[in-house]
Symmetry: C2
Subunit: 230 residues, 2 copies
């Protein structure tokens, strides 16, 4: 569990939003290209904290210069205490965003102000459990929920098309992936990320299925490369 910010949300439905991050440890997946492996592969050290403690840290680190908190991971749905954290954030007048792959349901998800479901495409090496995902979509029908798929290759794009057709009512986001999560050559990384983004736009532009989709890069990676905690 680490707390950082304020910074901006670099991805998805509230892209650009000024926010604090609470990054939880642990994941039930192990995506080949995970950019947060340190949250679950044992290389990171993580101390679990009580919701009240996290609120204190948010206040201390954020210094009043925020009104939005993003709970990311790992998979934040694995943690029991998050429901109470969400409640406490709301009591403090902060909005709460969450991203999860949609593999573990928690009732507190209905209280989230912006929730991104990000099922993983074939290149991740993971399998989507559609029974679970159907349950998520159904139970979040009244919530401010979107679907987001990270695309590395054309097979991933095909997966995204099928997904969008399965849940046509849910706002849909395509996102470029970062295939080099260790380089420190920022100029090179930026160039390759923008090239990938242009490639993804060209796929989306041709696809009639993606007519109402949004196609986005990861802004934080463009700005800060692979640096952590910004």
């Amino acid at each position: 569990m680490e707390v950082f910010g304020p910074t901006i949300q670099g991805e998805g439905m509230v892209m650009g939003q000024k926010t604090m991050f609470v990054r939880t440890a642990g994941c039930d997946y192990s995506c080949s290209w995970c950019d947060s492996k340190f949250t679950w592969d044992g290389t990171g050290t993580s101390v679990s904290k009580k919701p009240e403690q996290i609120i204190e840290e948010l206040k201390a680190i954020g210094g009043g210069a925020f009104s939005h908190v993003t709970i990311s991971g790992g998979n934040p749905a694995l943690h029991k205490g998050i429901g109470q954290l969400v409640e406490l954030c709301h009591e403090n007048g902060w909005k709460v965003g969450v991203e999860t792959q949609g593999s573990f349901w928690q009732d507190w998800m209905r209280e989230i102000d912006d929730i991104t479901l990000s099922p993983k495409p074939p290149s991740s090496g993971m399998q989507t459990d559609f029974t679970k995902l159907d349950f998520f979509i159904e139970n979040l029908a009244e919530a401010n929920a979107t679907l987001k798929v990270v695309i590395f290759d054309e097979e991933d794009f095909k997966y995204a098309e099928d997904l969008h057709l399965r849940y046509p009512a849910v706002p849909f986001f395509l996102q470029t992936g970062n295939s080099d999560t260790s380089t420190t050559d920022d100029a090179l990384l930026t160039a390759s990320l923008l090239e990938r983004y242009e490639w993804l736009i060209s796929l989306a532009v041709r696809s009639h299925i993606m007519n109402d989709a949004k196609v986005l890069p990861q802004l934080h990676t463009l700005v800060w490369g692979n640096k952590r905690g910004v």
Copy 2:
């Protein structure tokens, strides 16, 4: 009047949205850093077209691979025929986005699916008529409207803070400007745009007034530099 796309919306409230562009000619402003000067300074050639003609062009050029049309400028509010164009777009099942500085009101603005009001900060050399802008904000209270300010310097940022305080209920976007609209050195342009974006984020992060703002770059300039019609 030019039609191009499909491409993605690189700015503001529907960033990443797949869309066609209808770029209208003419502007009542003459911002120092305008990136569409060719629409109003006499260097571009422009033929005015009937709404029906524009619809035909959208169909021909877009080839069915879109469901959203962005009307940009210049200032699209200067054109009488836009109301009918919006109507025809809706009849075709397309959503319509518009960006305007908020200096000329038109009743069709209430029908727009996403409308961005972008008053110009001091660095533009323009003056904001707040009586007019108040009228816009009041009349678009039921619409899906946002405010966006392009920031070049700290004085612009101060202007944006005052604006956000004046209209606290309207979702607020800060955007980096492009101070070199003629270079063809894309790598250099990308680097300087990302540097500016990082600078703008750092201003926004420190400002308590901007707690609920979104801070965004121009995606199309990052991807395509100063190329036109992409």
